[in-house]
């Protein structure tokens, strides 16, 4: 039986995750004023300076602050600009559709999401790129190399750029986050196409000095002009639209060729040059300044479409080029193809072989080489190391020996765990008491309850994306005689669980589904969701055709909760328990 662990949450848990500091400064700082801000906060300032009309998002770290800032500032903005709209949408696809609808009506919209959010939205986005928009639309998508805030995968969203043809910019520092956002609105407006700001954790969650410009908010009502050829994609019109999309991309490519967002830094060497973008550029600069060498650098602001002529021009006469980027090689492959087509003799160095890179950089095997890892984020010393090796320069420091010394120390691991007083502890304790945990399969999902994987709890046999625990449970139930208990949260329920729930009824399986309704989106910082505005999960569950359903506050009625688990496990039909205990942090916040 698991009791609440003997641990204190830091010292009081006074700062919920995702708290944004200096909120008002983002709106009220005057032109020329310098403030300190995160990359994400600079995006908000940039959008405000661009006179954004409509902002939508679904919370997801490392993109959460965009929503947090606009949620906190919404009323203040409305005082100046009554037409302004902000919303936490039910999921990223809906958020993107809402932002598109606003932009179809001639407004300027911003939608923000983390990498996996783009997967959810991608069905809509692929078509959206064909039609484009009327006003302007900017999408902020933040990846998470090293999975600091992600349980699912180390997704590299850049490959969506090619698949859907999304013009995309990658800012390096806080100031650029603001400038690039403003520019993205202009570019989007000019070519009537959504433009992405592509970020990563270390870029979005870097802090620095931000110099503000003028905000000039104007009240604006949108108008959707009917035109059957504009937003309705049917064959054969859809293929015409694809051609028009290619034409737009071609024009944007020309713009990219001459854009100051792609910067060339003339270096002193012809032996080695560097092509990079985004946060990697800051790391490259750091590495070069430590090595006290001056190499030519091409810093790409546009990562799609690429300024091909500019890249080829840069490569001329260069012997070797190191492509510095995170995760799987995206720029490297493009540059390889370009160089080959132009029959350039330049040697292109980047990631090398995937597995080898991973082993080298984790110190798992042998000596490091002059390549960069495809797993995990980049660090400035990795780049310094690679450059030193390529130039056959003596290393500044014996990194390998130091790393070996660090790794010899068996250090602690402190995995995150549920907060003290968390209502989920009651669920854990009840399950451990009632259920033979060795005979049941437990399905997890994205939210605080994914911490059920903690070895002190150990109630998670699989974990994928939001909405997947019920879908997978159905498949297991249909294929085996094993009982599945699966969890979903309240925000996740509205996000993606409903179709899977209906499927268990429609196709007749028997998982026990526990919906953990803690009455907030806790993991990302207590954002509201439809349930917090009175839309009842119980009513939806009943309407989906679930016959066995009970709503219980597990923190108040433990006995009833345990009895219901016992009773529902016997059912040969899908059953749902809605565990209504409120998030402990939220409760404390309200006091």
């Amino acid at each position: 039986m698991v009791e609440h662990p003997p641990y204190k949450r830091g010292v009081g848990g006074s700062i919920p995750p995702g708290r944004t500091f200096f909120m008002k400064e983002i709106l009220f700082s005057k032109k020329g004023e310098k403030i300190i801000a995160l990359g994400n906060e600079a995006v908000c300032r940039g959008a405000l300076e661009a006179d954004v009309d409509f902002v939508s998002t679904y919370p997801g770290t490392p993109a959460s602050e965009i929503g947090n800032v606009f949620f906190a500032l919404k009323e203040e903005i409305k005082k100046i600009k009554p037409s302004f709209h902000f919303e936490f949408s039910t999921n990223e696809k809906v958020a993107t559709e809402a932002a598109a609808g606003a932009a179809f009506s001639g407004l300027k919209s911003l939608v923000a999401m983390k990498n996996f959010g783009l997967n959810v939205a991608s069905d809509f986005v692929h078509t959206l790129m064909y039609t484009g928009v009327e006003g302007a639309m900017v999408m902020l998508v933040a990846d998470d190399p090293s999975c600091w805030s992600s349980a699912q995968s180390e997704q590299n969203s850049r490959f969506y750029l090619q698949s859907a043809h999304i013009p995309a910019l990658e800012p390096s520092d806080v100031q650029e986050f603001k400038e690039f956002t403003k520019f993205a609105f202009l570019l989007s407006q000019k070519y009537k196409i959504p433009v992405m700001i592509h970020s990563v954790t270390r870029a979005s969650h870097q802090g620095g000095i931000l110099k503000c410009d003028q905000i000039n908010l104007k009240d604006k009502k949108g108008f959707f002009k009917r035109d059957p050829k504009r937003f309705s994609t049917m064959s054969p019109r859809v293929l015409e639209m694809k051609k028009q999309l290619f034409e737009k991309i071609e024009k944007i490519k020309k713009e990219a060729e001459n854009s100051s967002l792609n910067k060339t830094f003339k270096g002193k060497s012809k032996n080695l040059a560097i092509i990079t973008s985004g946060i990697s550029f800051s790391l490259v600069q750091e590495a070069l300044s430590r090595l006290k060498i001056n190499l030519p650098i091409l810093k790409l602001g546009f990562v799609y479409p690429l300024p091909e002529k500019k890249i080829l021009q840069f490569l001329k006469g260069i012997k070797k080029v190191l492509v510095v980027e995170e995760l799987e090689p995206y720029l490297e492959k493009e540059i390889l193809a370009l160089a080959q087509k132009a029959r350039l003799k330049v040697e292109i160095i980047g990631k090398g072989e995937a597995i080898e890179g991973a082993r080298l950089w984790t110190g798992e095997k042998g000596k490091r080489k002059a390549i960069l890892p495809q797993i995990g984020e980049l660090k400035p010393e990795y780049i310094e190391f690679a450059i030193s090796k390529i130039l056959k320069k003596k290393l500044l420091f014996n990194y390998e020996e130091h790393l070996a010394k660090v790794q010899k120390i068996e250090t602690i691991t402190r995995p995150p765990i549920l907060c003290p007083g968390c209502p989920y502890w009651y669920v854990v304790n009840a399950l451990k008491k009632i259920v033979n945990v060795n005979e049941v399969i437990f399905g997890g999902e994205i939210g605080c309850y994914m911490l059920f994987s903690h070895k002190a709890i150990n109630l998670q046999d699989y974990l994928y994306c939001m909405g997947s625990s019920i879908g997978v449970a159905h498949g297991i139930s249909k294929s085996s005689s094993q009982k599945v208990i699966c969890f979903t949260g309240d925000s996740s329920f509205f996000h993606a669980s409903i179709p899977a729930l209906i499927n268990t009824v429609f196709n007749e399986s028997n998982p026990l589904i526990i919906i953990l309704e803690n009455q907030t989106t806790a993991m990302t910082g207590h954002q509201p969701h439809p349930g917090t505005k009175g839309i009842k999960i119980l009513d939806i569950v009943k309407a989906c055709g679930i016959k066995h359903v009970k709503e219980i506050d597990q923190t108040q009625n433990q006995k009833e909760f345990e009895e219901t688990i016992k009773e529902f496990l016997e059912k040969n039909e899908p059953a749902v328990i809605i565990a209504k205990g409120e998030c402990a942090l939220l409760k404390k916040k309200k006091q």
Partner: protein, 194 residues
């Protein structure tokens, strides 16, 4: 003499106030007309997990991340966590450690001498203070141990910043109703002697 670049790592357990301390220091550096960059983590890394944040200030700063073995100052808000920052430590590194232990469920609490032995393989500059205990006794508020340690670090010249700037940082970052106790904790740390 001010160094060209000063590299700080603050680590501890989620909820100990790392993000607040970062902003106090960042704002202080801005007040001294220095360039400043930092890197923080949210989301999964909280919920009682380990949290490690980076802050760099100086004339010209590129990377928001501190390089391997290049930290000038490591502030560990929890004793066991200090060994997790060794990747950034070398002989030049000054450690300042809060002598508090937040147990890890299911794990034994290591001996303090054991941890110290590890740290000493990297640097001899290590100070350990019972900051949580002092703040709990004096203010009934452990979370003040962060600013207490900033005060101590400043007096011991572990931090190349001016007292006035840090004052302005606290004033800027801490909500008004908590400022008085934070200033008191800072001063208590500043004048603390073993």
């Amino acid at each position: 003499m001010k160094p060209e670049i000063f590299n700080i790592i603050i680590n501890g357990v989620g909820g100990q106030g790392q993000l607040t301390l970062l902003r106090i220091l960042a704002f202080s550096a801005l007040k001294e007309n220095l360039n400043v960059k930092w890197s923080e983590l949210h989301g999964l890394s909280q919920r009682g997990g380990s949290v490690e944040v980076h802050l760099r200030f100086g004339k010209k700063i590129f990377s928001p991340l501190v390089c391997q073995a290049d930290a000038d100052f490591i502030l560990s808000l929890e004793f066991q966590e200090s060994q997790k920052a060794l990747y950034y430590a070398d002989s030049k590194t000054q450690f300042l450690i809060n002598e508090t232990i937040t147990p890890i469920p299911g794990e034994a609490i290591p001996e303090k001498e054991e941890i110290l032995k590890f740290l000493e393989k990297f640097t001899k500059k290590i100070e350990i203070l019972p900051a949580s205990k002092i703040c709990q006794e004096k203010f009934q508020k452990e979370v003040l141990s962060g600013v207490f340690l900033l005060g101590y670090a400043l007096n011991k010249k572990f931090l190349p910043l001016k007292k006035e700037s840090l004052f302005e940082g606290i004033k800027k970052v801490i909500p008004e109703k908590y400022q008085k106790e934070n200033f008191e904790a800072f001063e208590t740390g500043f004048s603390f002697k073993f």
